[in-house]
Structures are given as C-alpha cells and as structure tokens.
Amino acid sequence: MTAGQAKSIRAGTGPADQLRERWLAPCGLAVLLVFVAVFPLLFPNPTATNFGVVTLIFVAVAAAWNIFSGFSGYLSLGHAVFYGTGAYFLVVAARDWNLTGAAVFWLVPLGGVAAAIIAVPLGLVALRVRRHTFVVITIAFFFIAQLSASNLGITGGSSGLLVPVPTSWNPATYNNPFYYLAMLLAAATVALSWLVRRSRFGLQLRAIRDDEDRAAGLGVRAMPVKLTALVVSGFITGMAGALWVYFIGEAFPQFVFDPLFDLAVVLMAFFGGLGTVAGPVLGALVLEPTQLYLNLQQANGYESEILFGVLFLAVILFLPRGVLPTAAEYVTAARARLRRGGWPGRTGASQAQAPPPAADNPAGTPAAGSAP
C-alpha cells in the first residue's frame, strides 16, 4: 500500500467518527445510569420495582461471572454455589445474631466473604483441570452444595428457612432499599469488570483464555491469576445471593441452589457477548425481565423452560459471539462499505475491517475481531 492510500484511510476516521466513538458509549452509559436511578420514581408500582431488584442482581451476577469465566475462558456452571453460600450465610447469621430490619444489610458483604472463602478450595481443586473437565467439576460442586443444603441441619434441610422480613417498612416503598443496594452492587461490579479488562491482570486472564501453556511460558503465573479472578467473582456473586435471599424472604435448597440459575447467567453473558464488559449487562437487562414476565404470565414453569431452551439454542446457533460483537461487526462492515464508495480496492477493504483501537472504546464494547 502506498503512503497516499494510507493517508486517505486515516482521513476516513475523521473527527466526526472519533467524536462518535469517544462520546457515544459514555453518554449512553450516563443515560442508562440516570434511567436506572430514577426508575423506582417513574414506576413506583411494586411489581415493577420487584422486577428491577431481581434484574439488577442478575446484572451484578452476570458481570461477576464474566470477570472469571468470560475473561479466562474457564466456563463455570457452578456459580450457584457462591450465590447460595452468600444466601444461606445471610439467613443463618440473621437468625443466630438476631438481626432484623436494615441491620441485616450489613450481612450482605459478609455473605460475599463467605462465598469468597468457599471459592478458594473450590478453585484450588477445579482449576487444576481445563475445558470439559473443569465444567463438569463445577457442576459436581454445584450438586454437592445442593445435596448438603438439603441434608445439613444448619440450613433447615428441605423444609427451608424463613428470613425475618422488615414488617415495619412502608409497603409502597418497601422495594426501594433493595433496589438501590442492588443498583450499587451492579454498578460497582460493572466498573470493576471495566477496570479488570483494561488492567494487566485482565490481559493475563485473556492470555490464559487464548493459550494457557503459552501464557505460562511468557511468565503469567496462571494459577494465582485464575484463582484471584474466581475469588473476586465468587465474592460478588455471594453478595448478590445474600441480597437476593433477604429480598425473597425464604431459602429453600432447590431455589437457592438452582441449576437454571447457572444456565441463566451463562446465557446472559453469551447473549450479550462473552468476555466483554457491556455484553453480560445487556444480556441481564434483556433476558431477566423477559424471564420474570414469562413466569408472571404463566403459572406453569414448563412453558418458560421450553422458551428459555429455544432462546438459548437460537443465541448459540445464530449469534454465537453475542449481540454486541456481532453488532459491532455489522457497524464496521457498513462503515467499510461507505468508505470504499469512491475508492475501491482490496487493500482499502482489508484495512477498513481492522478493529478500531480499544482505547477509543471506553464502555468496553468489543471491537470486531477482538473477540475470539
């Protein structure tokens, strides 16, 4: 390619394009944050805020799952273990320490700590194996946890435990404390995931995802890196579980340790875009309200189960890399076509398809081609 051609390509990403790339994502993010913040004021209806609380909890969980599985490529189908650990910690601690009302919220971070502590031995065992075997081990941990919750005395067994819900609170605004705590958790998790993706640590995780042996050869200490990601992910998932169980007000083994929970989280990440920052958030924001709405419409669980499976298959078959990476690809391809307009040529086309620099992409929306 000649120097003149290269110059005209650079001219293609003119100030207007740069402006769009640099400001579009932060502005969109700000609008979304403001909307989420005022949502309970706009829709004070308890059903709406109820949806809001659960959806925000899933935003946090999907983003947390993605910090570990999305970045490292180790697909965990056992995050319900951390969710359930946080949940049971809150229920049992609130009962044994006689906490009620707003004081119970202090147990939420402690529930996260409990889940993080559980994550250490789990990670030390499971992270020794890769690929399929890792997935199956996480499933095995899940079943051990569910079995223990059904059979141990401390969890009340299969008859479940009740959480003393704050009865003195105003029913009209009852959901609001949960809502804003869930929002805080979700926002913090997304911010953390953005930081991790940009950091050296995130780079190490993605190196492990692409080729662990080669990453190790280049000096990445794989085990500590993977374990740290798992513990962080487990910590957030545990907090989400603790908040959720206080909101729901009851803990039964089959709901606290629910195989559909694992799948739902994975689907959210895959739907939006695995290993991206915005993808799991989008997935949770779209899929969780849909799921809740379907459950509300149909008393029988099987129809939503079938729909869920069909949706999952559709995403895997038609959007295997998720909505955001696929959309980004279309945008890049469309721009390339526009630019090629008065200036056809193969070199131009191949240049235009190259991913835009990641630094111009503050929301972490992945550039086309950067996803695997």
């Binding site: 065992v125 194996v129 399929h132 997935v135 081990i137 079995l147 799948l263 895997i316």
Partner: protein
C-alpha cells in the same frame, strides 16, 4: 444367606452394569465428537417415558418396546446432532456444544413436563417386582435383566467398534479427526451415527432405570447426568473400558454407603470425583493429553 454388605455389593455390581452402558454412550460421544453431551440424563428419562407410553397405551411388554424405543432414540440423536451440534464450529466450540446440549435438555424436560406432569411414574411388568434367590443372594429379576441387556448392548457396541468398517472409521476419528478426513472418512456422517448410537443406548438405560428407580419425573435427568458425568470424568474422558469399571465401582460404593447414610450416598460420586481429580487430574484410566487446551 448373604450379609447386608454382600447383598449391597451384588446390587451395586448389577446396577452398575446399566450405568456403565449409559456412560459408555456418553464417553463414545465425547471420544468421537469432543463434546460433553449433558443431555444424556434427559435422554435416559425420555427413553423411560417412551417405554412408559408404549407399555401403558399400547400394552407392549417393556422388552418388546425396546425394539421401537432404541431405533426411535437413535433417530432423535441423529436429528439433534444434525440440527444443533453440527453447525457449531470455531474456537468456542467446546463451550458452545455443551451449552447447546444443555438447551436441548431443557426443551426436552419442558416438553416432558407438559405431556406427563411432575408426578412420579414407574415402569412395571411381571419381572419388575419378582426376584430370584441365587447362591444365597436375593436378586430382583429386573436387575438381572438390566445387567444382561447392558452386557449384550456393550458386546454389540464392541463388535461395531472393532469388527466393522464403520467402527474402524469411528476409531480413526477418535484418534485424529483431521487425518481421518484426509484418508476419506466422512467425519460428519461418522459423528452423526456415533451421536445416534450414544443416544440409542439411553433407550435401554431408560427402560431399566424406569423400572429399578422406583419412580421418575422429568426432573430425574439432573440426578442421572450428574452421576454419569462423575463416572466418565473419574474414568478419564474417552476411555470406554474405564467407564465400565468405574461405573460398577461407583454404584457399588454408593450401595455400601447407602446402608449407613441413605441421605448422603449420592455424595459418594462427587466426593470421589473431587478427591481423585486432585491426585490424578486425567482420571483413573485417562491418558494425559499432550497439550490440553
């Protein structure tokens, strides 16, 4: 008379036969296609419900019904492979195929709930309640029949794999897919038929499971798949012979623990999995992959 422990060992070995058959299907699919078919559990339940429909509505004997359910499950397996597994390619194929199988399992589970509800049903015939006394052991007929069926099916599987041209193609694909393609093996066809065979064995497994489990629901798939996965991982992925031995070992261990701790006996599978993999990550009979990624 046999003691309680001897009795448990006998039941464990006989019950292990049928798990060995189901696990053999799972590990065969893994070996050839490099995917974990997490839908194997619900396939077993689907096979059990097919047997149930045939025996309740058409009054077919369970063993005669197998003549219909085995080909039916084979076709279901081939169709599922062709529609949902075959199109998946690329770097994320491992996780994609696993999730696709999970999605298929969810759909089947939902359809079964829709058709049959969540009540426990079980399969019955004259041989599901009777038993024989043999060498002082008290052995239910259905356990003996199930063990016999499993042995027969595995013998057939062995003959297909080691005595036919198709079996040679399957083994070649297991060893090296690219090389198999290069010498003219239609890997897609081999994969489809293998997935069909791996699914067809669940018809037999489902029939026996439905008769010995004392009742099943669409939800039973989770319990089954977790045991089956534990068996194939413990054995070492892709090792068919290892899966047979491990299945019998694990069901026997479970039957023994069941004497003292009925609530915790299932945990034997998972605990063994965790303990053995910390010592030997490639499983009991697995070979360490040259460069597992």
């Amino acid at each position: 008379m046999a003691t309680e422990i001897e009795q448990a060992i006998a039941a464990g070995i006989l019950g292990g036969g049928i798990y060995a058959l189901m696990a053999a299907g799972l590990t065969l699919i893994f070996g050839v296609l490099d995917i974990i078919n997490v839908a194997q559990g619900i396939f077993v339940v689907l096979g059990a419900y097919l047997s149930y429909v045939l025996s309740v509505h058409l009054h077919l004997d369970l063993l005669v019904g197998l003549l219909i359910t085995v080909p039916a499950m084979f076709v279901i397996g081939v169709v599922i492979y062709w529609l949902f597994i075959r199109p998946l390619r690329g770097a994320e194929r491992t996780s994609m195929t696993l999730l696709a199988c999970f999605a298929v399992a969810l759909i089947i589970e939902g359809v079964l709930y829709k058709e049959f509800g969540s009540n426990y049903v079980s399969l019955s015939a004259w041989y599901t309640t009777s038993s024989v006394h043999l060498l002082g052991f008290y052995l239910p007929d259905i356990y003996l029949i199930g063990f016999g069926l499993a042995v027969a099916a595995m013998a057939a599987l062995y003959l297909i794999l080691y005595r036919t041209t198709f079996g040679r193609a399957v083994r070649a694909t297991m060893q090296n897919q690219v090389a198999a393609r290069l010498i003219g093996i239609d890997v897609n066809r081999v994969s489809a038929v293998t997935f069909g065979i791996g699914t067809a064995v669940t018809a037999i497994g489902g029939m026996v499971y439905g008769a010995i489990s004392g009742g099943f629901t669409p939800n039973s798939g989770y319990d089954l798949i977790s045991r089956l996965l534990a068996i194939v991982i413990l054995a070492g992925m892709g090792s068919i012979g290892g899966a047979l031995v491990t299945a019998v070992l694990m069901t026997t261990a479970e039957a023994l623990v069941d004497i003292w701790q009925p609530d915790w006996s299932v945990a034997v599978f998972y605990l063994a999995l965790v303990i053995i993999l910390t010592v030997r990550p490639q499983g009991l009979f697995g070979r360490r992959a040259a460069r597992a990624q």
